[in-house]
């Protein structure tokens, strides 16, 4: 009888641990642009050394160039984040401010100016090296996307409407997230996180089929906005008052309950394209939000 090699008995499956380590893609996304911070490092040393030896003109060149490179790197990183968001979405507006392009141009100009003033190149050589730096940036990192992504838009809603509604909803979700961070209650925090997760899922399902927007519009306007008002109100009263009154706690709890319930129903009904029942639900919640105006 032959013996099995020992490693065949061991499973290669790994336990799923979502929080254990970031996925490689995420890590590479986070590291993107680090090179732009590292390359100008000699300039920082030069700035300090020239400052110490009181060579003001040289110190000015070194520190100015270093600052410009770091500014370009930060702009580029901001551009990468916006682009990543754009790639993730099915429907998205092209970035309004071309951060990556601005960063590329700034890197090119800084390199050219530094070559001319700091490394004694003649003006033609300096321009060429600045242009090459910009070209390298554009090839390696790419420039900003310029076209709006509009795939899957059907008759009934315009691209503008969809994008605007989604952007507004995203702002509300971000505001809820912000307010959540200032609420120091673990239970509320978990529930609010569940609510924002659900809301994001609803937004994705609208992105996947924009014709759903017409049935979800009221939800986005009334519900998400209501959830935001209530959460922000609670966070505010928690920040200003030392102890939140019990009545307010109960109200907040109740409102969170209805919000969670309606968010769940919204998602199910969006998928089933059944809007009548939800309209009734939403008017009930509208009433409730009015009643709980104490926030």
């Amino acid at each position: 009888m032959t013996e099995l090699p020992s490693d065949t008995t061991r499973s290669k499956a790994r336990r799923y641990r979502p929080d254990a380590a970031p996925s490689p893609r995420k890590l590479s996304q986070r590291m993107k642009g680090i090179l732009l911070y590292l390359m100008p490092a000699p300039l920082l040393i030069a700035a300090i050394a020239t400052l110490v030896s009181a060579n003001l003109y040289e110190a000015l060149i070194a520190s100015g160039a270093f600052a410009a490179y770091i500014l370009a790197a930060s702009l580029a990183r901001h551009g990468f984040r916006i682009e990543q968001e754009y790639q993730r979405r099915k429907i998205a507006r092209a970035p309004r401010t071309p951060f990556k392009t601005i960063a590329g141009v700034l890197t090119g100009i800084t390199t050219g100016a530094l070559a001319w003033l700091g490394a004694d190149y003649n003006i033609i050589g300096a321009t060429a090296i600045g242009g090459a730096a910009f070209l390298g940036f554009a090839f390696y990192y790419g420039l900003d996307p310029r076209r709006d992504k509009t795939e899957g838009i059907t008759i009934g809603v315009t691209v503008e409407e969809v994008i605007e509604a989604l952007e507004e909803a995203e702002l509300s979700i971000e505001a809820i997230d912000e307010a959540r961070k200032s609420i120091g209650n673990a239970e509320y925090s978990t529930r609010l996180r569940r609510i924002t997760d659900k809301a994001r899922q609803i937004l994705s399902s609208i992105e996947a089929d924009p014709s759903r927007l017409s049935s979800a519009r009221k939800f986005l306007k009334v519900y998400l906005d209501g959830a935001r008002r209530v959460t922000e109100g609670y966070a505010r009263s928690q920040a200003t008052e030392q102890a939140v009154p019990e009545a307010l706690e109960t109200d907040f709890n109740r409102v969170l309950d209805s919000i969670e319930q309606t968010f769940n129903e919204q998602q199910t009904q969006l998928l089933e394209n059944n809007t009548f029942d939800l309209d009734v639900q939403i008017s009930v919640l509208e009433q409730q939000l009015k009643r709980e105006n104490a926030f």
């Binding site: 890197t107 390298g136 090839f139 390696y140």
Partner: protein, 31 residues
């Protein structure tokens, strides 16, 4: 141009130009 080639060329161009100029400036400005 193929995307991988473009990225490689871009990386080389960017790191060579910015890296070279900041190193050269370091020596020119400090010494």
């Amino acid at each position: 141009m193929n995307n991988a080639l473009k990225k490689t060329v871009g990386f080389l161009l960017l790191s060579a130009t910015v890296g070279l100029v900041s190193l050269q400036s370091f020596f020119y400005l400090v010494f």
